[in-house]
């Protein structure tokens, strides 16, 4: 009898120890995902991110979930609007009871939503919000995989300096928390390279660019740099091409959503030779992890390639799952501690956040913008060189470390 009781007690203790992680929090564990799924947000980007986050969730659940629980992804539509971003973040936290949030595309949305998450103590790993202030505010619960706007601006400026004969650049930017600082930083970079520039700003949902295009044409620019998201960028590129100042007439950088090859060619049939910046490893340097994701993504979406923001969105969910597992809890503070110590092998490369509470920007002697920031997202410039080309096949033309092909200069 005594032996039976002892055996039962031991079994109970053992069982309790085994199931404790699962009982410590409610199953399933909910993770939020921010994505613009309606205009004026960048819908092409948002849908790609949503699909990538779903793939990440399926993968996590297929591998046993997190802390013994299945993960449930709750994707919300930010519409690219800051007020909407704030509202959906509140909904995710108070109604959906998410333990962490990934995704995020528009900087203005990120800036508005991050304060809500910070106040509630919910960790956020932003995937595609570039504004420097997202990390420069040094919020305890906010992390970012996407590159800093200032770093991308530097790439643009350095690239422009390599374009033959460029003296006068026009920058067309959306008047948002992404476009305004990014265009200003690009202007500063160009100025440092001895190139003059004029910034034209437009509303995020602008459809008709005819007036501003005639004005740009009158400026006789040698190059046009776009700092715009959403379908506005498609409209601008096509209308500029119709007016004779498109990518086929002079060097032009298009927005990142030009990487959506099918949508780009449908909306911008005259968009050949456009340059685009891409975040993440170039195709030639894909790791096994990257290739596996691209395979799963293309199979799920029917696309012929995976865009930068899809990779970032996937990684934002996967890294949160790893952090929750390593934290052994869904407590916000514990997840943050795990994220600060994390080394995650993702599709973007090995991700870590070296500037953190244990190594502050002051101690490291770096700008506060590097706080909780993945320091090494590869940023490249690729160019469509044939009508209908897939962005995966478009050669990398800058920076020299990643170059896979020579640029075609339309003005030469």
């Amino acid at each position: 009898m005594k032996t039976t009781l002892l055996s039962s007690a031991a079994a109970l203790v053992l069982t309790t120890a085994l199931v404790t992680p699962a009982l410590a929090q409610q199953c399933p564990i909910r993770i939020g995902g921010l994505a613009p799924l309606s205009a004026p947000g960048s819908v092409t980007g948002g849908e790609a991110m949503r699909d990538a986050m779903r793939i990440a969730t399926d993968e996590i659940n297929a591998n046993g979930g997190v802390l013994g629980c299945q993960v449930e992804l709750v994707v919300v539509d930010t519409e690219g609007l800051p007020e909407r971003g704030r509202a959906v973040m509140e909904r995710l936290i108070t109604q959906d009871n998410v333990v962490a949030v990934g995704g995020g595309y528009h900087s203005s949305v990120g800036l508005a939503a991050k304060d809500v998450a910070e106040a509630a103590g919910i960790p956020v790993v932003f995937a595609e919000t570039w504004n420097d202030r997202i990390t420069a505010d040094m919020d305890r619960f906010i992390f970012r995989l996407a590159p800093l706007s200032s770093e991308v601006a530097a790439i643009y400026a350095n690239f422009a300096a390599t374009v033959p004969g460029v003296q006068n650049v026009v920058i067309v930017a959306e008047n948002t928390d992404y476009g305004l600082p990014a265009s200003d930083m690009t202007r500063q970079g160009l100025e440092a390279a001895g190139i003059t520039s004029t910034i034209y700003t437009v509303d995020i949902g602008t459809q008709d660019f005819s007036g501003i295009i005639q004005r740009i044409r009158a400026d006789r620019p040698d190059m046009i740099i776009q700092v715009m998201t959403g379908e506005a960028a498609y409209n601008f590129t096509q209308q500029a091409a119709e007016a004779g100042i498109g990518p086929g007439d002079l060097p032009m950088t298009c927005d990142q959503n030009a990487l959506e090859s099918a949508a780009y060619w449908q909306n911008v049939p005259d968009g050949n030779l456009c340059f685009m910046n891409a975040v993440g490893l170039p195709t030639a340097l894909f790791t096994d992890r990257t290739r596996a994701f691209v395979e799963a993504y293309t199979a799920a979406t029917g696309k012929d390639a995976a865009e930068s923001y899809a990779m970032e969105a996937y990684d934002s969910i996967m890294i949160l799952a790893q952090a929750i597992n390593e934290a052994g809890s869904t407590d916000g503070e514990a997840i943050v501690a795990a994220l600060e110590a994390i080394s995650y092998d993702g599709v973007l490369g090995t991700i870590s956040f070296p500037i953190n509470a244990g190594n502050t920007p002051e101690q490291a002697g770096v700008d506060p913008k590097w706080w909780h920031q993945f320091p090494d997202p590869a940023i490249t410039v690729v160019q469509y060189q044939a009508v209908g080309q897939s962005s995966t096949d478009a050669p990398v033309v800058f920076p020299p470390a990643y170059v896979t092909g020579e640029p075609i200069w339309p003005h030469q």
């Binding site: 309606s38 092409t44 008047n175 437009v202 509303d203 007036g211 501003i212 449908q266």
Partner: protein
């Protein structure tokens, strides 16, 4: 702006003397027991354009205020404004480049024609049924979507003009059916607050249509191919008179016009001519106008106002659908595409005068010109296109201050 102090001094002069003129001339006409309303408006215009030099003789002579008196001083105001702008900012591209100015005017006229067509539909509905349809933008969106899906997805190779006709038929039918199903309660007292009911029910339709299209076709931007692709042609050989490329026509080496827009404007003008013929030469059109003038009197003559309501709503929706159908080849199209054009249409019909059909069309052309002037001539490029929707609002405010019924509106 090089001499901004001069410019703002002239604006100050115009405002002060306009206000003085309005009060002074009204007083003079009032003392002589003449029409004071027109006197006030003429006083404002003469004061703003000429200051004391025109006001003093007008005050003492109080001539009969003919049509010339009511119109000519406003051209003086416009002339003084343009002169002050030209002298203050001689390097502005609007001042220094005649070709740029001509191009902007051409673009303004083209876009204005299409704005006018869309606003005409809204004005038609208001003039017959007396409600403002908040779903007008969605019919514009549906017109474009129908053309895209017919020409690019369902029946590629179909003549796009047949798709335009199909879009017109569909938007007419949906509008007419909606009117029968949901708007009849406002005619026979079945709802307590008919105006509010009409607002809510058309708002509901707008959301329904927007999300229906998003649910069926997704939220990614789409675009139809240009209806006409021009061959590369120059006349004479240097193209100094006319030069064409696939999507652009250049006239006199000066005016650059995008062919998809030109095509859209031509169709709009033809539709306008057709509408005028319908309204003035057919029994149905005459009946519609009769109902617009006096509902009861029209009913006495045997016209069924209910049928006219349905016809008016269907026609109004069809005009919006037609505007969208011809513009989907020029712009990327989304389920939310109709929002901004609808807002613009509201501004236009108030500017032109609620219920006035000529006012709606002329208001549309004015709006096109105002937007083109704002985008092209505002000196600060970071603001010129950003504030595009505001330019029309500024003019609308000024017009309503002086003529609360709008440019062509009449008192009820």
């Amino acid at each position: 702006m090089e001499h901004s102090l001069f410019f703002w001094s002239v604006m100050g002069w115009m405002v002060v003397w306009g206000a003085v003129g309005g009060a002074l001339i009204r007083h003079a006409y009032f003392m002589r027991d003449l029409d004071v309303i027109e006197a006030r408006r003429v006083g404002v215009a003469v004061g703003a354009a000429t200051g004391p030099f025109g006001l003093i003789p007008l005050y003492f002579k109080t001539p009969k205020l003919t049509r010339a008196w009511k119109i000519a001083p406003w051209f003086g105001v416009l002339g003084l404004f343009v002169l002050a702008f030209a002298l203050s900012d001689p390097d502005n591209v609007c001042v220094s480049s005649g070709s740029f100015l001509t191009s902007q005017i051409a673009n303004g006229l083209i876009m204005g024609t299409i704005y006018g067509l869309m606003a005409l539909g809204l004005a038609l509905i208001f003039s017959i049924i007396g409600i403002v349809s908040f779903s007008h933008g969605e019919f514009y969106m549906i017109g474009g979507m129908v053309v895209y899906y017919v020409t690019a997805v369902l029946l590629p190779g179909w003549n796009p003009l047949l798709a335009v006709l199909l879009a017109c038929a569909l938007t007419f039918c949906v509008g007419a059916l909606f009117e029968r199903a949901f708007l009849t309660p406002i005619y026979d007292g079945r709802v307590e607050r008919p105006t509010e009911y009409a607002i809510l029910v058309t708002f509901g339709l707008a959301f329904f249509l927007q999300y229906l299209v998003q649910g069926l076709g997704g939220a990614n931007p789409v675009k139809a191919d240009a209806f006409i692709e021009l061959p590369r042609w120059r006349f004479p050989e240097d193209g100094s008179l006319i030069a064409t490329s696939r999507a652009n026509i250049t006239l006199f080496d000066t005016i650059f016009v995008s062919t998809p827009r030109l095509m859209a404007a031509v169709v709009s003008v033809l539709a306008l001519a057709g509408l005028i013929w319908f309204l003035f030469r057919t029994w149905w059109g005459k009946a519609l106008r009769a109902v617009a003038q006096d509902r009861q009197a029209a009913a006495v003559t045997g016209i069924d106002p209910r049928v006219m309501n349905m016809l008016a709503f269907g026609l109004g929706c069809m005009l919006a659908g037609l505007a969208g159908a011809v513009l989907v080849q020029a712009f990327s199209w989304l389920p939310q595409t109709g929002t901004i054009p609808a807002l613009r249409s509201f501004v236009i019909i108030v500017l032109g005068g609620l219920g006035s059909l000529p006012g709606a069309f002329i208001g549309g052309i004015l709006m096109g010109l105002i937007e083109a002037a704002g985008a092209g001539c505002i000196p600060d490029p970071t603001r010129a296109a950003s504030y595009l929707p505001a330019y029309g609002m500024v003019v609308l405010t000024l017009v309503l201050l002086l003529k609360p019924t709008g440019l062509f509106g009449r008192k009820a």
